[in-house]
Symmetry: C2
Subunit: 192 residues, 2 copies
């Protein structure tokens, strides 16, 4: 029962923070959205920062589950799996009016200079994203889909950077163009 309430607070917080940022989201707003009585927050979280760190873990787990569902799909080549991950996200953002962006990238931008604890946890989360892609690119090299002249680790880091930046352009342009350009540049040029 306790875990359910905590989970509800996290789900409501994830939605609000994803939409409007961490500093712009108040605890009472989260509790109201979760339908949880005020005052119970500090039963589950030591502080707003503690809540933010739990949110990062929540975002990281969601991202990992989502991407692995594509990256583990043995029926298609590795690079196609990776391309499907980004196509899934394009769909997701199209359904959400090209708002929100990457919750981890957003928090990295907003909070890295304001909280060392956030910074550390976000660095881990981004490293996790990068490692999953590095592994995919390594497998692609092993299977001859990707030229051995590439460094999978560098490529994965650059792809994550370029993706995060594409989502900034998406948010400002409110259209799919930056993500479509990312797809072409990465899969038709960079990974050739």
């Amino acid at each position: 029962m306790k875990e359910t309430t905590k989970h509800r607070i996290l789900e409501a917080g994830a939605e609000l923070v994803h939409r409007q940022g961490f500093n712009h989201t108040g605890i009472s707003e989260v509790l109201h959205a979760a339908g949880v009585p005020k005052g119970s927050f500090y039963f589950y979280f030591k502080s707003k920062e503690d809540f933010g760190l739990a949110l990062i873990n929540h975002f990281r787990d969601t991202f990992a589950r989502m991407t692995m569902q594509f990256l583990d799909d043995q029926s298609i080549p590795h690079l196609k799996r990776l391309r499907k991950v980004f196509a899934w996200f394009l769909d997701y953002f199209a359904q959400h009016g090209f708002e929100r962006g990457c919750p981890v990238g957003n928090l990295a931008q907003e909070m890295s200079d304001l909280s060392p604890a956030f910074r550390e946890s976000l660095a881990d989360a981004i490293q996790g994203m990068t490692q999953a892609m590095t592994q995919c690119l390594r497998n692609a090299q092993k299977d001859g889909e990707l030229s051995p002249r590439h460094d999978p680790d560098e490529l994965a880091r650059f792809i994550v950077s370029a993706w995060e930046g594409s989502l900034i352009l998406m948010k400002v342009e409110k259209g799919p163009e930056a993500m479509e350009l990312f797809d072409r540049m990465v899969f038709d040029h960079l990974l050739k």
Copy 2:
């Protein structure tokens, strides 16, 4: 005299918003940093949003001045000029502890979904950044530095995306590695 006070408020606001974001920065904090009496804010700006829009113009002008100083340097090839722009920024961020990031990209991430007026003004600012780079790449093609198979406009947009994303990684990692990787990937691979 009035203009000087307004300029001082903008300078102080630019510094604070660059460091900690727009929503996290209060008007009284800005006035205190500018050494301007409270109450005078609404003499110069209609609202906090109006102030934010003036800040975007301020950031855009600063960026344009800085980049054109390199892009107009007739003594070296066009792509070298562009590379120097990013090298200047790497230096800047190294001097500031790899904090802050791109003020326009930060506001785009933070404010695009919260204020249509911000979104529109930020879209213009990002388009301005992209256009300066497109022109540089076009000149590079004309002078035979860049293969004619590239589309300068698409390339410039992707470079801006990748740069914005690199700065997110920089903020979270507190080191130059993501910007150095950007430099190699863009100038040693993408623009070849």
